[in-house]
Symmetry: C2
Subunit: 352 residues, 2 copies
């Protein structure tokens, strides 16, 4: 709350209480437009009314809590709203589907000025606009305990296009989009600069040249482009998942649900140079940042070997290993050629 | 948290941290079964996969926060889980639809023992079972700030059956199910007994003979039976809303969205004798408890005058007024025959 107070100290402030709950909803949705022809009725009744004729409906939900999932000390509210939508869209893309609608519930202190909530919603609307998704409902309430954001996303897909986690077959190639570990190293950087600032508020945060990994943490993008690319080149993954908890944890999910093993090659894991360098600065193993860091929101998927030629030169897709029979276990083959059992040490919301 | 600690002090406790997030999800969903043939895939992938062939999809969401929407001092966790589902189902019935699936996100202190979360889920599953609804997804996370429950409900309806808030016409009869004000007076009672207990923990709470209103507060039931009854007798409401914020606020929503006025008769508002008597004990006007109390989760709806004969002897439906032209305004006609402008002073989550 202190940060919010500070951020808005020299700006105009409107008390939410003056609007009341319905006034606030009206205000926040006054420019909300519905883009999807399947959105028959959005905000403003007991429920939204949607049409998915001919398609299957995909549903996923994620909750973000202040102090657990984000720190307002270094998270601009607009970015936070944007990210809250992205992490949900990512789940729909991971099913090889198209997100169509979201509902957004917000709990916040009544001391939040209206302008703060507006910034949050600017990020929400920006993400909705960019990904052609409609905001069709939600709930706003006072919170005694900091900011709470709960988003549910709906999406659609033809039944035959849906990709589950459980379809990987022996010999399938393991692929990942983009690069990994950036969001985690970006977080280390932001946490360090926060401590520096708390010790001496006159020192400016030193994030120069680190834009990429800071953005990976604060403003991730769901990989719609990868889903579209795969469709374009005629590749349907055999299994897919998005990387929210770290590569190791997600690959283990695919192997467990597909009842298979895997060989993952350390030297193939895509790392951005800035991720590598920053991890080193923090005395962290860059590979561990990729395996266990989480929040990269890249897509991890498996494809048939027959599809190799179609994906081998795609710049933003890296082949990092292959699926094996279950008895072989899930293995990480290190740069030195050693074989270790792959372990999930992903970020755990319960600290376990 | 003190109450949780106390509740489970002499019982077996399992630390959630030992399970981790995925272990917890596995544990909580191990007996979860899918009843709806439209639930193609429930918990366990990036998104649930649902089939609504031939129907429109209804979506609504509600968030419940500790200290705002519930007090664990007098709310059994099983009841809380049950209520969290009911308040969502109520929104789907208010569209004249059938709820089919829910997603449930929970944020809780890592100090919550597993047994506490299990009780919460027992209530959630009980409500799902009773109302034939599938739990198909959700999110569980640690919270630094007390218990957070966010539920999204999906439902279905034939397009021609959907009832919005905006269809009331001049001359339509205003009807309400059940009786009103009970949940609010029940809350007053629970709050009083909490204070008594805090002053002297040796005094047992005195709720004798008050079961009905206490249950109205702690364990509401969504009015599926009313939606079914109306279908049975061939009455389609012209407008409908569920009463979560008090009769006045909800009736004003219908009038505003329908662009109509109304006459509401105080002497027609259905009150249970226990509500009446308890309101008097607290020096509250029973009518105000019904108008502004909220959380009754009854259905407020309008029907054509031609349907009067079909509903006039239905025990659990009361006609409380009629819709007028907009210029006549929204009025409360008191028992003494005075006419007042109807005002929404409903419970406001922002205290406004």
């Amino acid at each position: 709350m202190d940060y919010i107070k500070k951020m808005f100290d020299n700006k105009e402030k409107t008390e939410i209480e003056k609007l009341g709950e319905f006034g606030l909803i009206d205000y926040l949705t006054k420019e909300n437009t519905l883009k999807q022809k399947g959105s028959l009725k959005g905000v403003g009744d007991d429920a939204a009314v949607l049409d998915f004729t001919g398609k299957k409906v995909l549903v996923s939900t994620d909750m973000l809590l202040e102090g657990i999932h984000f720190d307002l000390a270094y998270t601009p509210l607009k970015h936070l709203g944007y990210k809250a939508i992205q992490v949900n869209l990512s789940d729909i893309y991971a099913m090889n589907g198209t997100p169509t609608q979201v509902t957004v519930s917000i709990g916040m202190s009544s001391k939040f000025p209206l302008e703060a909530i507006e910034e949050l919603y600017q990020g929400i609307y920006l993400a909705c606009e960019k990904y052609n998704v409609d905001l069709v409902g939600g709930d706003t309430t006072s919170s005694k305990q900091g900011l709470v954001i709960s988003v549910t996303v709906l999406g659609e897909a033809n039944e035959q296009d849906i990709v589950y986690r459980n379809g990987a077959e022996e010999g399938d190639l393991i692929c990942v989009s983009g690069d990994l570990g950036g969001a985690y190293t970006g977080l280390q950087l932001l946490e360090r600069e926060k401590l520096v600032y708390l010790e001496n508020p006159n020192i400016q945060p030193d994030l120069e040249g680190k834009d990429y990994i800071v953005e990976r943490q604060l403003k991730p993008e769901a990989r719609r482009d990868i889903v579209e690319l795969l469709k374009e080149i005629g590749v349907k993954p055999t299994a897919m998942i998005d990387i929210s908890d770290g590569l190791a944890s997600e690959l283990l999910h695919i192997c467990k649900q597909s009842n298979k093993g895997c060989n993952l090659y350390e030297d193939k894991i895509p790392l951005d140079p800035m991720t590598f360098e920053t991890a080193r600065e923090f005395n962290l193993d860059p590979t561990i940042c990729a395996l266990s860091g989480g929040e990269d929101y890249e897509l991890l998927f498996t494809v048939k070997q027959a599809d190799y030629d179609k994906i081998k030169f795609k710049l933003d897709i890296t082949i990092i290993g292959y699926i094996t029979e279950p008895a072989a276990g899930c293995n990480l083959v290190t740069k030195a050629g050693n074989v270790h059992a792959l372990k999930a040490q992903g970020w755990n919301a319960f600290g376990g």
